[in-house]
């Protein structure tokens, strides 16, 4: 039995405030650029504060909910903040705030800023709604809205490459969205509209072939967003095309939204016992395990830094699906924590990539030779995030992989440790050479191109968010076991899932 929910206006605020801000962006920029920046910052900070308050409340045992609108006589749009949602919501809101601050510096000389900021803050709203959605239809609404309304951000540069990447993105994502819609129609038909419930809403008496269809539609649909091979094609193109701060949230939380959808589906639509009896999870383990290694292998070969990081995202987010597929409590804790940890590590890495582009004109790994001398702070942040990504203790990446490894042993699949360690090893292979180049190589300076020679550290608007992301990565690692940290929330969510 679920705990009684407390009616609260806070979840509503978290998704309504950014909409207001998006609407006000255009009038605000008529006043001045500063007014627009102030508006966006205040709203993003307020959303982050709301998300943290909700997370703190949930950590102390409350569940919040709110009804928004009655869509049809049967279906309400309904928000419900449980432990999993609160953790994801807080991750989203904080990373978004950092990316927004970074944008103020990074995007200064870009075109069409009204459109960029309007959609950037609007997508925060949809992602918060996604995190707090209390039933499948609400989840679908936010999922579709944010899939489609991120399109202007992906193609922001309007270059032919960006347009091509945008087309690829929208086709993949809409295909996935269609599968999710189909799955939700089938679920509604089989079980009616129901709040996400631990233990599942689908009855075990449902026609087994129907259950199989629903499951694979969900997995295929969310798998596109979570970038499971072979549905990952949009990720390596969209990331290099998008502006760096948007790449950071794209990799940090949007790919994770697919994994989050899979978590909701597995634990709160089907439930562990039903899935065990359906016998589908070993296949998911196989797909996810393959994705971890395959994407990591592809990452080694990429020269474009953002592309390499994009493949790394595919590989890392597959860990989450791998962990979920084990259906064990420890691995589920690892999955939820890894979403948060990965968001800040990968977010940080993309923010670094943006700085290298802006300050050094460096898009490729080879151009980063000797970068540490010109940009010591950025390089240090990059190195820390790389180590975290590989899973070096005591950084946050280690925490999540520790739980994942425990889960593998707990569910008696020790051979999967090979995937876990193999992925980490590959991460070292594709990330550490970059660190080596930055610290131990001499920069190649050609007379025509002075940017490499003259590059300096970025101003505080860009460096600040990067340092903050790195600090969060350190904190999440060192302070992992403190109360109120992601591990505690993930533990609460897992206890509910396996109750």
């Amino acid at each position: 039995m679920e705990t009684e929910a407390t009616r609260s206006i806070l979840p509503l605020l978290a998704f309504a405030l950014p909409i207001v801000a998006a609407v006000l962006t255009v009038p605000a920029q008529r006043v001045s650029e500063h007014a627009r920046a102030a508006l966006l910052l205040v709203v993003a900070a307020a959303v982050a504060a709301v998300a943290l308050v909700l997370a703190a409340g949930v950590a102390s045992g409350t569940v919040y909910d709110t009804y928004i609108l009655q869509l049809t006589p049967q279906i309400w749009m309904y928000l419900r903040v449980d432990a999993a949602g609160a953790l994801f919501g807080a991750t989203v809101a904080v990373l978004w705030l950092l990316a927004l601050v970074y944008s103020l510096g990074y995007m200064r000389e870009e075109h069409r800023l009204g459109r960029y900021y309007g959609f950037f803050i609007l997508c925060l709203s949809w992602t918060m709604g996604l995190a707090y959605a209390g039933n499948l239809l609400t989840f679908l609404i936010f999922y579709e809205l944010f899939s489609i309304l991120t399109y202007p951000l992906v193609v922001h540069e309007e270059t032919p490459e960006a347009m091509a990447a945008g087309t690829k993105y929208i086709v993949y994502i809409l295909f996935g969205g269609t599968l999710v819609l189909l799955a939700i129609v089938l679920t509604f038909f089989s079980a009616g509209v129901q709040t996400f419930t631990a233990g599942g809403i689908l009855s075990p008496e449902t026609d087994p072939s129907m259950l199989q269809v629903i499951f694979w539609c969900f997995l295929g649909g969310f798998g596109v967003k979570a970038a499971l091979v072979p549905l990952h094609g949009w990720v390596p193109d969209a990331h290099p095309a998008a502006p760096a701060p948007f790449s950071a949230v794209l990799s940090g939380v949007m790919v994770a939204a697919g994994s989050f959808g899979i978590i909701r589906t597995v634990f709160q639509v089907f439930g562990t016992s039903l899935l065990t009896s359906m016998g589908v999870m070993p296949y998911v383990t196989g797909v996810a395990g393959f994705t971890v290694l395959f994407a990591a292998a592809l990452a080694v070969n990429q020269d474009n830094l953002k592309r390499r990081l994009a493949y790394s995202t595919i590989s890392q987010m597959a860990y989450v699906v791998l962990a979920v597929s084990l259906l064990g409590p420890e691995s589920t804790v690892g999955a939820l924590v890894h979403i948060t940890n990965h968001a800040f590590m990968k977010g940080g890495l993309f923010l670094c990539a943006g700085l290298f582009i802006r300050r050094l004109g460096a898009y490729n790994v080879q151009q980063l030779d000797g970068a540490a001398r010109r940009m010591p702070i950025t390089a240090a942040c990059f190195a820390i995030a790389c180590l975290g990504m590989i899973g070096t203790p005591p950084l946050s990446g280690f925490t999540s992989k520790w739980y994942l490894g425990l889960g593998m042993l707990e569910t008696e699949k020790p051979w999967l440790l090979a995937v876990l360690l193999g992925g980490a090893l590959m991460a070292a292979i594709y990330l550490l050479p970059i660190v080596y180049r930055m610290y131990f190589r001499e920069p190649v300076i050609t007379p025509e191109d002075r940017t490499v020679a003259e590059g300096r550290e970025a101003p505080a608007t860009m460096l600040g968010p990067l340092v903050a992301a790195t600090a969060i990565t350190l904190l999440l690692g060192i302070g992992a076991s403190l109360p109120g940290m992601p591990v505690a929330l993930a533990r609460m969510a897992t206890d509910a899932f396996f109750h």
Binding site: L69, I141, V171
Partner: protein, 496 residues
């Protein structure tokens, strides 16, 4: 006032009288005829509001003209499906408002009064068709509607417009004959033309003529609705007509076929004299094919109105598929989409009309970069595009959701798959449109500087775009009266 019986008669007569008098009150500039048409539409809309209040209060009601009861006299009937007049009046009103500048620039001054006459006659036909309880009157009003539509397509006087109108006329005349034939057969079988009366008398009729009658009616109505493969007249007629006319044709006039089918179903299910499962199967398949074919052809169009016209074929496919599946959910979905598609398609056509009027270009290539100079119009068109693809929570989503559920309910899950993937195909061509508006640079240097359309064009488009969103998030409003109507329609079948 709301229950004053003759109101229903006045409701049909007002636009008719208004239409006839338009040329008489007009002045040289055509300004007076616009004011007159606007006044007529406002009055008609007010009556529609009063009638809908009453049907919500009391349920369906009817008015027997002159006290002559069936089968001798004429009966006007207003039920929940008749609530479509709300959309008819709203779109008619907005189309008239939109026409103020549009007609002045697109038509010769001498034709403007007749343009408004035809538009009002078209409204008369729609309204009469929807509220009549009599099969022969159904045919008469349909002819008023069709003839005024042919003339409206041709009104610009251009060669292509005349050709399109002629093509439309030929197909339309054949379909009208087919419907007349069906009505005649029903009269021969029952000796009555009143729908309720016919329903009561049909039981026990010989099967062969009955099948023939329903086949003739279905064929006729499906031509009017442009169901594949009877759609060939539609793209030219809808693309070439003046934009407010396109909005009325695509939003309302093609729905006549659907509403006609709903009346046919009311008779067939109510009498229980005929088993329609074969017909339903055919409609489901043709609907599915229409969805895919409409989307497929639209992808290759560069002309923005041509794209929208093909999209109407797809959307009629949704609705017909919903009718054919004949389960409660799918009928709800089809009925809701009759309303919502009218709003969405009117948004798109009026928006496209404003773009064409301001820029003088109608191809996607020519319209590249127009989002910068006309941000409000392109935003409205984009909302319409998102809505017609059925992205939640816009108005188009309800149809997709209910018809997909209906396909499950009817035990035909593959049609649910066809439906959602058809929508995916449709998105492909709308993304091209959005790309052209916002993300492509203007092709030609020195393109004329354009700005937003005048308020008479912009405001209708914005109202409609807002409705595309509102009808999605407040979907339960139309559903609250469509659900009982569908339940009643299916009640004779048992279960339901």
């Amino acid at each position: 006032m709301t229950s004053w019986p003759p109101l229903l008669v006045l409701f049909v007569l007002t636009p008719l009288v208004g239409a006839v008098l338009t040329p008489a009150v007009s002045d040289a500039s055509g300004r007076r005829s616009w004011e007159w048409a606007l006044g007529t539409m406002l009055l008609t809309s007010a009556m529609a509001g009063a009638l809908i209040m009453r049907v919500l209060d009391e349920g369906p009601f009817s008015y027997v003209v002159g006290g002559w009861v069936a089968p001798y006299g004429i009966e006007l009937r207003f039920d929940e499906f008749s609530a479509f007049v709300a959309v008819v009046c709203l779109l008619g009103l907005l189309a008239v408002i939109f026409s103020r500048h549009y007609a002045r620039d697109a038509l010769a001054p001498g034709r403007i009064p007749y343009y408004y006459t035809l538009l009002l006659l078209n409204m008369t036909g729609m309204i009469g068709f929807i509220v009549t309880g009599d099969l022969f009157n159904l045919y008469v009003f349909m002819e008023i509607l069709s003839l005024s539509a042919y003339a409206l397509v041709a009104i610009s006087g251009e060669k292509t417009a005349e050709m399109a109108a002629f093509k439309y006329l030929v197909m339309g005349a054949v379909s009208s004959l087919s419907i007349l034939f069906g009505v005649g057969l029903l009269y021969a079988l029952t000796g009555s033309l009143n729908m309720a009366d016919v329903t009561g008398r049909l039981a026990g009729s010989a099967e062969a003529p009955l099948v023939l009658a329903f086949a003739a009616l279905t064929l006729g109505f499906m031509v009017k609705s442009a169901l594949f493969p009877l759609h060939i007249w539609l793209p030219d007629a809808h693309a070439i007509a003046p934009s407010p006319v396109s909005a009325v044709l695509s939003g309302l006039v093609v729905k006549v076929g659907i509403l006609g089918m709903l009346r046919v179903y009311q008779i067939a299910y109510g009498s229980g004299a005929i088993d329609l499962s074969g017909l339903n199967l055919m409609l489901t398949w043709l609907g599915a094919i229409s969805i895919v074919m409409g989307a497929f052809f639209a992808v290759f169009q560069d002309d923005i109105k041509m794209m929208l016209a093909y999209s109407t074929i797809s959307n009629i496919g949704y609705i017909v598929m919903g009718l054919g599946l004949a389960s409660p959910y799918s009928l709800i979905g089809a009925s809701v989409h009759v309303f919502n598609h009218a709003l969405i398609k009117a948004t798109l056509f009026l928006g496209a009309g404003a773009l064409i009027h301001q820029t003088g270009r109608r191809t996607l290539t020519g319209l590249a970069g127009v989002g910068r100079s006309m941000p409000l119009t392109t935003a409205a068109v984009s909302i319409g595009a998102i809505s017609i693809v059925g992205i939640p929570p816009t108005a188009g989503f309800l149809c997709k959701w209910y018809i997909a559920l209906g396909a499950m309910q009817a035990g035909e899950p593959l049609f649910a798959v066809a439906l959602v993937f058809g929508a995916l195909l449709i998105f492909v061509y709308y993304i091209r449109m959005v790309n052209a508006f916002y993300f492509r640079k203007p092709q030609e240097a020195g393109a004329p500087a354009v700005h937003e359309a005048p308020a008479t064009m912009l405001v209708p488009v914005l109202i409609l775009a807002a409705l595309c969103l509102v009808m999605g998030v407040l979907g339960r409003l139309p559903l609250s009266f469509i659900e009982p109507a569908v339940t009643r329609l299916l009640a004779p079948l048992g279960g339901g």
